[in-house]
């Protein structure tokens, strides 16, 4: 498995150069701050092989292990919550229009076409990775004070061999004072973009990521566009990426515009953020109001998975609560707006009863 081999070679390199203990292997899922070339997962490879590796190493610690974003159950829950609204996923893109083509289809052919569309939609809904912020690089390779005063500018030396992954590339900076240091993350990203330009990414971050412009975008309900631009521009573990994402999620939570991200690939990240911050009230209320009770229950389950020591998780385990009852338990124990959640649940139940009585 190609994806498997790279981390192993990385570890060998690390152990060989730094003499690190296998500590880094165990905590491979949670990134160590002082490891330099961290064995980061390549962005869109699902964590399956790594999980298998880690479960081989840590046999007794899986019970206390906190579920991560890449876990299968977590991913399943998030995918289910994201929904699959084909009209929204395949919204007409702003591009040069061509006249449409027409086909005559039977019901079976139509279903086949819909199935293919659903598959394409699932590919589009692949969630971008949620990583922790990367540690800054402060590594000095050499101090040559003899060179001080010879140059007036910094020199950046980049290894531009095509076969090296970008994360392992050597990029060093010679300061005018003579120090030879490894380039910081921002410098690395800039240099890599200059020599290996990626589509949609600019060398310097566009001004849309400034505060006031972001506010304008939020006021126009274009949170999904902001997040797409952010993914194109920044690396998943860069501080700007995380900051923009968190800001967007906060704005959505403030105004209750959860539906903007439903059926996009950002919904999972948003739900994960709220569950980690213990701010799932707004999302719960929105789901109940839109009659998505299954999604609400799965959200509460996810919450209990992540915070198993909280009062609501314990209460749920005692009562072995299911479905709406689970939500009620959560509303009673840990929610900030518990009363509102209960009220909304009540309204839903009444509506449900009256609807079922009518039909």
């Amino acid at each position: 498995m190609a994806a498997f081999r790279t981390p192993v070679s990385l570890w060998k390199f690390l152990i060989g150069s730094r003499g690190l203990e296998p500590v880094c292997i165990r905590t491979q899922n949670q990134l160590q701050p002082d490891a330099l070339f961290q064995p980061l997962p390549l962005p869109f490879v699902v964590g399956l092989p790594r999980r298998g590796l880690s479960s081989d190493v840590e046999s007794g610690t899986s019970k206390i292990k906190k579920p991560t974003f890449t876990d299968e159950e977590v991913q399943n829950i998030l995918i289910k919550m994201t929904g699959l609204n084909l009209e929204k996923i395949f919204k007409p893109a702003i591009q040069e229009l061509k006249p449409p083509t027409y086909k005559l289809m039977t019901q079976a052919q139509l279903e086949e076409a819909t199935r293919k569309a659903v598959q394409a939609a699932k590919v589009r809904l692949k969630m971008p990775p949620v990583l922790e912020e990367r540690a800054p690089i402060n590594d000095v390779l050499a101090e040559d004070t003899i060179l001080e005063g010879t140059e007036t500018a910094k020199y950046v030396f980049t290894d531009i061999s095509r076969s090296i992954p970008h994360r392992e590339r050597f990029i060093v900076v010679r300061e005018p004072s003579g120090t030879l240091r490894k380039a910081s993350w921002e410098e690395r990203d800039r240099m890599i973009q200059i020599y290996f330009p990626k589509e949609g990414r600019r060398v310097l971050p566009p001004i849309i990521f400034k505060e006031e412009n972001l506010k304008t975008m939020y006021s126009q309900d274009r949170h999904a566009d902001v997040l797409n631009l952010c993914i194109a521009q920044f690396e998943p573990d860069s501080p700007e990426y995380i900051k923009v994402h968190h800001q967007t999620y906060e704005d959505i939570d403030k105004h209750g515009k959860y539906d903007l991200l439903r059926s996009t690939r950002h919904f999972g990240g948003m739900a994960w953020y709220f569950v980690n911050k213990k701010k799932i009230d707004g999302l719960l209320i929105d789901q109940i109001q839109r009659d998505l009770i299954d999604d609400a229950t799965s959200l509460v389950q996810l919450y209990h998975m992540l915070h198993p020591d909280g009062p609501s998780a314990q209460e749920a385990r005692e009562q072995a609560a299911e479905g709406i009852h689970l939500i009620k338990v959560f509303a009673k124990t840990e929610a900030q707006r518990g009363a509102y959640i209960e009220l909304t649940l009540q309204t839903y139940q009444e509506a449900f009863i009256s609807h079922s009585a009518a039909s």
């Binding site: 395949f90 702003i94 086909k103 005559l104 289809m105 039977t106 019901q107 139509l110 076409a113």
Partner: protein, 431 residues
Amino acid sequence: MAAAVRAVRCLPTLCRVRAGHFWSRQLSLSTFPTASVLASKTTTVSNGALSPWGTRDDRPFTSLSRLLQTQCCVSSPSSLLGQQRRPYSFFTKLTADELWKGVLAESGAGARKGRGKRSKKRRRKDLNRGQIIGEGHSGFLWPGLNAPLMKNGVVQTIAQRSKEEQEKVEADMMQQREEWDRKRKIKVKRERGWSGNTWGGVSLGPPDPGPNGETYEDFDTRILEVRNVFNMTAREGRKKSVRVLVAVGNGKGAAGFALGRATERIDAFRKAKNKAIQYLRYIERYEDHTIFHDISLRFKRTHIKMKKQPRGYGLHCHRAIITICRLIGIRDMYAKVSGSVNMLNLTRGVFQGLSCQETHQQLADKKALHVVEFREECGPLPIVVASPRGALRKDPEPEDEVSDIRLDWEDVKSTQGMKRSVWAGVKRAAT
């Protein structure tokens, strides 16, 4: 009589020698007061209130001879000869209609058979416009005519305006007449059609209301062609007639066209407009902006190929087809006309092609299958636009590997990149 009075003022006349007074043709101040005396005498004669000529000579003349003001006669051609006022002349012996008939000379040999020059057309002018019975050069105020009859219950007497007042009144009158002349001379700019001097594409407004009171306010008519056609007759020889092709439409799918003939152009416009509204057809449009599918047809010797285009494409067609599509309400289409470009056949062909479209619903019913649309911008998403109303059949439409539709050589050339045209990709104003 009043007309004769005005004629005296405006047109140059021969001065008649009168006993006891010196008359001259040159511009002299003395002629003016005498002229005004004559005019006032004429008015007095016409009103029949005062005594005849001879006795009244001296008194008004001596008082008026002290008058030094000049009449301003800017617009009249008799400015060199002075403002002449003759109570009785050639012009007073005929009516205004007879005089103008002589001046305009509309029925002469020159006017027949189209020999008249376009620039030499004279226009009749109403010379009595603004005239009030009782207003004269000497400025008398006649109660009941140009002054109020009663004031505080008392019947007024005949009075006279002062010199300054009369000057002012006459100056105002001259100004008013000049303004009327100026307004007449303004050339109204005709709405430009497809190009400067052509009648094609010019709008005629909505058709006239029908006999049962139906109005066609939301319909617009556009001229497509104006042609002078001739017929040989026994008496006059070549007889000209104007033939106009006109299309009407309300922009919502209802449209029609008709041909109108008359001797005069405006009559032909009217006839065509009112005939076209009697021959309306409803044309189906897809999402109100384009046709359902590509149409290629041959009508007599005119080949028309119409292609469906997405929103925002505009009407990239022959100018007549653009006009027709705007009237129907089609906003995006490509059309190519080859072969004959006879306007009547082109219009007939376009209407025939558009009327024979097959809507998606009709296609679905005919084939008993779903009509599914695939858009590039929407990815692989299938959009069902029409489902058969009856039964849905199970067996799919047979599809060959190589489709057996007849290919069009022009289309093949453009897809293969074999077409070299300087007009490809030229940017025009949006339609």
